[in-house]
Symmetry: C2
Subunit: 326 residues, 2 copies
Amino acid sequence: MRSDSEFDLIARYFSWPAPAGMLGVGDDCALLPVSHGFQMAVSSDMLVEGQHFFADVDPADLGYKALAVNLSDLAAMGARPVACTLALSIPRIDHDWLKAFSEGFQTLSRQAQCPLVGGDTTRNPAGVVISVTVMGEVRRNHALRRDAAKVGDDIWVTGHLGSAELALRMLQGRLPADAARLAAARPVLERPWPRLRFGQRLAGMAHAALDISDGLLQDLGHILRASQCGADLTFDRIPAAPVLDGLDEALRRDMILAGGDCYELCFTASPKRREQIQATARLLDVPVSRIGVVVRGDALRVLDADGNPLPHGPGGYDHFRAAGTP
Amino acid sequence: MRSDSEFDLIARYFSWPAPAGMLGVGDDCALLPVSHGFQMAVSSDMLVEGQHFFADVDPADLGYKALAVNLSDLAAMGARPVACTLALSIPRIDHDWLKAFSEGFQTLSRQAQCPLVGGDTTRNPAGVVISVTVMGEVRRNHALRRDAAKVGDDIWVTGHLGSAELALRMLQGRLPADAARLAAARPVLERPWPRLRFGQRLAGMAHAALDISDGLLQDLGHILRASQCGADLTFDRIPAAPVLDGLDEALRRDMILAGGDCYELCFTASPKRREQIQATARLLDVPVSRIGVVVRGDALRVLDADGNPLPHGPGGYDHFRAAGTP
């Protein structure tokens, strides 16, 4: 009866059947089951056109990534995804755009077993704004909190760092485009895979964890401040993305240490857990690297092969400082 | 160290201590307790400057209302608030604005015992966009779902209808301003009180419920479609706000039946529950009116005192139809 209304948009693009035991899109609220002995982990993000993504971004990539960045927060908490909600404002009803956006979102929603259970679509002449909230569950007292690092802990990181930052700078024209490098780096920027299964295995095994979406040094800094300790990292142990090979060394270092939009996990754990962590990483096919150690004090030092501190800035991404950086 | 950064804004304006047993602002995710035998109810909304509120709105009212409209969804589900998250994008850092916004938000957050546990602030040159997600808990199988109305149910509504719509039309210049009426109606528009306690009492007592934020007829229509039944309403039983007295009758009727931004509850219940509902309403000092009955079929009829149908349009608010209507 009411074509192209808010209700039709939700019904048409965002109403996938909710799993058994769950009430999904269509009522005032979604209803979620929570297991006894578990806590619910919740995180909300907002992505703004022109700030976090380009107006001409592939809408399927955007839909995927809007969910991915939030799922990464669940991964960093050690939580299993339960469900998500999406609030979306758009300048006009563009069915091709909506179809692609919802397909990208749904692709990851299925892969991560994180059904969309609530939606709000609204008009915004100024541009697209997306807010996703994810909910997961984690066994009580097992969550990977940022204030849980202990002096003597190993510091680990998953994956290889710097690809997303490289792709971003090339797309923004801040670095000369290089077709081969961009082709290799771009998927990491556009379709990051949140480390959900590995994060869940770390719960109860590791101490503190974060994703390093604001850059390794800045996010590790959050752990250190919250846990009231310092860290010594060995630069040569930090796993650089191969696509950075051959770049100017200062640039390469900056992208590894401060590159944003990176959805790998940085975590700390007792040295007694080394074998268990390596075995879990092998089982799940997740590369892990032991890059440093938690120390007393409040300094975060990056050391060269001889143990001498390398100079580095505070690094990382800040939405109110780096305006225009998606 | 980093003044006016995203982290400072959250720490400065949106980090209130979380209650015991909860992890609040500052980690990847908040952690919430959920009681055994309960489900979690979740709802997300998005409010866009120029669409849902005026750019010059009092930021304290805006902060209050951004939470109120979401809490009303919990009320309509019969859920008790547990916590909320806020994603906020703003064109620039205006400390007076942020202080007032956060105070308005916090006022209701405290009154409703719904602590803010997660925040995301980001820059948006195009204007303010707010997305709030509320989480509550409701005993399993007790939630007030819109598909639960039964033929023969009474139809009830809380409060008195039409004030918010009147205030809105005057503020938009769609109706001539009338200082006395506006002064009486405006608080209902700007500081609506979600029917949380009454909604919680209704869980397990009523069948279906909704808030009528899109207008009585449109929202009751959602219940009827989801429940596959119709309704006969008696117009004279629908409680009109006294501030509408003396207005043109067609205008008055439209504001009562289709006026939006109304956070009263419409619910259906077995006639056997009449006394219990009246007693609960008296206990909580909530006005309730029995306005009609659920019938077979799919028609929603509004009857005059003689039982003859009154003409009415589909009514209610649609974000993609009524562009520019806050």
